[in-house]
């Protein structure tokens, strides 16, 4: 499972960077989206995968049965998802505005107004 996920994560990083390097604003947004997903998956996988063992102390016991799934990475990812959601919402609004101001989807046109 870890190996599969590691390959998926690597693929996602590669795709996201490829998309970010394109000239199109839409592809830039897709790249940023995939990037944040790749990072979340990386935290999830790097912290170790434990299936079917929720960190809940069963009735009558006074300690967790080992092994148990670490709940902290999930809390971290949840926070990261919320933050990247907000960032992406702002990115979308900004690129929409940029598109209507600049009248183009081409990132190379950025800053053209300032060049002599």
């Amino acid at each position: 499972m870890e190996t599969t996920l590691a390959i998926v994560i690597g693929g996602l990083y590669a795709i996201s960077f490829y998309l970010m390097l394109r000239r199109s604003m839409v592809k830039l947004i897709f790249g940023l989206m995939l990037f944040s997903q790749a990072v979340n998956l990386l935290i999830f996988t790097a912290a170790g995968l434990t299936r079917g063992q929720p960190p809940i102390i069963p009735d009558g016991a006074n300690a967790l049965p080992v092994p148990f799934a670490d709940p902290l990475p999930q809390a971290l990812i949840l926070t990261a998802i919320v933050i990247s959601f907000g960032m992406l919402a702002f990115t979308l609004a900004l690129t929409r505005r940029a598109h209507s101001t600049l009248g183009t989807d081409d990132l190379d046109q950025l800053g053209k107004s300032e060049r002599p």
Partner: protein, 496 residues
């Protein structure tokens, strides 16, 4: 509960919320904003006194013991940074009253300004890497909106670049956190420092380098600085002044924190790399500035070259060098913010920042010319101003090692900095004004703009005349940084 540690977070948060609630009344927002910034300065100074008297302070939020809960920590370095943040916040806040137009105020300039300060103070005070990430995002989110607020074409273009690169930096930061957590099962800085101590040197190198890149993008070091000169000259001056003063310094703070506390196992690799990057940062920044002819663009490139001096202090990795870096950070925050404010005052009276279209300011505004000279000469390192002692301390620390190449670079870059400052002086102040220029108000500089400029210039001169006080404080702060056991003990309650 140690109130002094919580207040620098509580005050900006409450101010921002109060500004939103008072949204209908522009007057109320303006009053609240200044009140909040003043209170932040008071809280910062109080925190500095507390930490100076009682050693490193730590609070475990929600009473969850470290490393499980969220820890706020203030050592001398954090406290100095919070205090100086309060000072800059107040100065720029006052300047903003005269500089930000009513439309921007209506769309939430004041609340955003205080959310930005909240993020900055949070980053200085947190003792947990993930928490640091969250504070970075608080700060970045506000800075994105502040940069784009107004929606002028250059602003939008700048915001796209700024946002993309900072988004990537945050992603790399988070990647490093994921790997660190996977390896060591903790993100509490003190706990990480303890756990890394028993490991072989190379084991955390990948995360160290990822963090170096992530913080490096935020600090604007070579070759990751391109977003900075592309964006800092576009928003209103009050916004670019607070960005120039504080945001890159948060990156420098984070670099100094992790590379003195956590990643100290292999300085021959990591810190040598930092020295090399610093030297390149200094040189590229100052050469970039030489090619620019717009005041704020010149100043933006100088931020980069000065960042190099600060990280150089970190890279040399001795108590004296880190003390010099801290001195440099404080000096640079004051001086650079002041130069941006002066650029704003010039823009106000002349309607432009283009050096080719400026001139004759020395005749029209002799006082402004004098006020420009103080931070400009200080930035160039002319005695007896603060910049001289900052450079002197750094160069002396490098010579003591001994490490000569960085010294050569530092001195040469200082000379070129002076060249840039005299360029602004000669073009904007000294030469006659080009004919046919009628833009700007042509009137006096508003008192709300002049007051913060004078206050910051006075502080620059004061540091110049009494450098011992600040250098002593910086040396004690560096002493704490170089002895991580103090920090670890304050957080974990036991010796590492």
């Amino acid at each position: 509960m140690k109130l002094a540690l919580i207040l620098p977070l509580l005050i900006p948060l409450l101010t921002a919320v109060a500004c939103i609630l008072g949204g209908a009344s522009r007057r109320a927002q303006r009053m609240l904003s200044i009140l909040g910034a003043g209170a932040l300065l008071a809280a910062g100074v109080w925190l500095l006194r507390e930490v100076d008297a009682g050693g490193i302070q730590a609070v475990q939020l929600g009473n969850w013991p470290a490393p499980f809960g969220i820890t706020l920590v203030a050592d001398l370095f954090s406290a100095i940074m919070v205090a100086i943040t309060g000072f800059v916040a107040l100065c720029v806040g006052i300047f903003a009253l005269a500089n930000i137009d009513p439309a921007r105020e209506r769309f939430g300039f004041h609340p955003l300004y205080h959310f930005l300060l909240l993020g900055v103070c949070g980053a200085f005070l947190t003792g947990d890497l993930f928490n640091l990430f969250v504070w970075f995002e608080v700060m970045l989110m506000s800075s994105f909106v502040l940069l784009a607020l107004g929606g002028e074409r250059p602003q939008i273009e700048a915001a796209v670049k700024y946002l993309t690169l900072n988004f990537i930096a945050s992603g790399l930061f988070l990647t490093a956190l994921g790997i660190l957590y996977g390896q060591f099962g903790t993100l509490n800085m003190a706990d990480l420092a303890v756990k890394l101590r028993d490991q072989p040197a190379g084991v955390a190198l990948s995360s160290a380098m990822l963090l170096f890149v992530a913080f490096g993008i935020k600090a604007g070091v070579f070759p990751l600085f391109f977003w900075l000169p592309a964006s800092y000259h576009t928003p209103p001056v009050a916004v670019s002044a607070i960005f120039a003063g504080l945001l890159t310094k948060v990156g420098v703070y984070a670099l100094i924190r992790v590379f003195t506390l956590i990643f100290t196992a292999d300085p021959a690799t990591t810190h040598t790399l930092i020295v090399a990057v610093s030297v390149l940062t200094m040189i590229t920044g100052v050469l970039g500035a030489a090619a620019q002819y717009e005041i704020r663009r010149v100043l933006s490139f100088h931020i980069i070259s000065q960042i190099g001096y600060m990280t150089l202090g970190l890279g040399l990795f001795t108590t004296a060098a880190i003390a010099a870096a801290i001195f440099y950070v404080v000096h640079h925050i004051i001086v650079k913010t002041n130069l941006f404010l002066i650029a704003g005052a010039i823009g106000h009276v002349r309607g432009t920042g283009e050096l080719k279209r400026l001139g004759g300011l020395y005749h029209a505004y002799p006082w402004l010319a004098l006020l420009f000279l103080i931070p400009a000469m200080s930035l160039g390192g002319i005695p007896p101003l603060s910049g001289f002692f900052a450079k002197f301390a750094l160069v002396k620390a490098a010579l003591d090692l001994p490490s000569y190449w960085p010294v050569v670079a530092a001195l040469a870059v200082g000379l070129l900095t002076l060249f840039s400052m005299t360029k602004i002086w000669a073009e904007a102040f000294w030469k006659a004004e080009p004919e046919g220029e009628t833009r700007g108000t042509r009137g006096g500089v508003p008192r709300l703009m002049l007051a913060p400029i004078v206050a910051m210039a006075l502080l620059t001169v004061a540091i110049g005349f009494f450098p011992g006080t600040l250098l002593d404080l910086a040396t004690r702060a560096a002493g704490q940084l170089m002895n991580p056991n103090l920090y670890i003990e304050a957080v974990l309650g036991r010796a590492g």
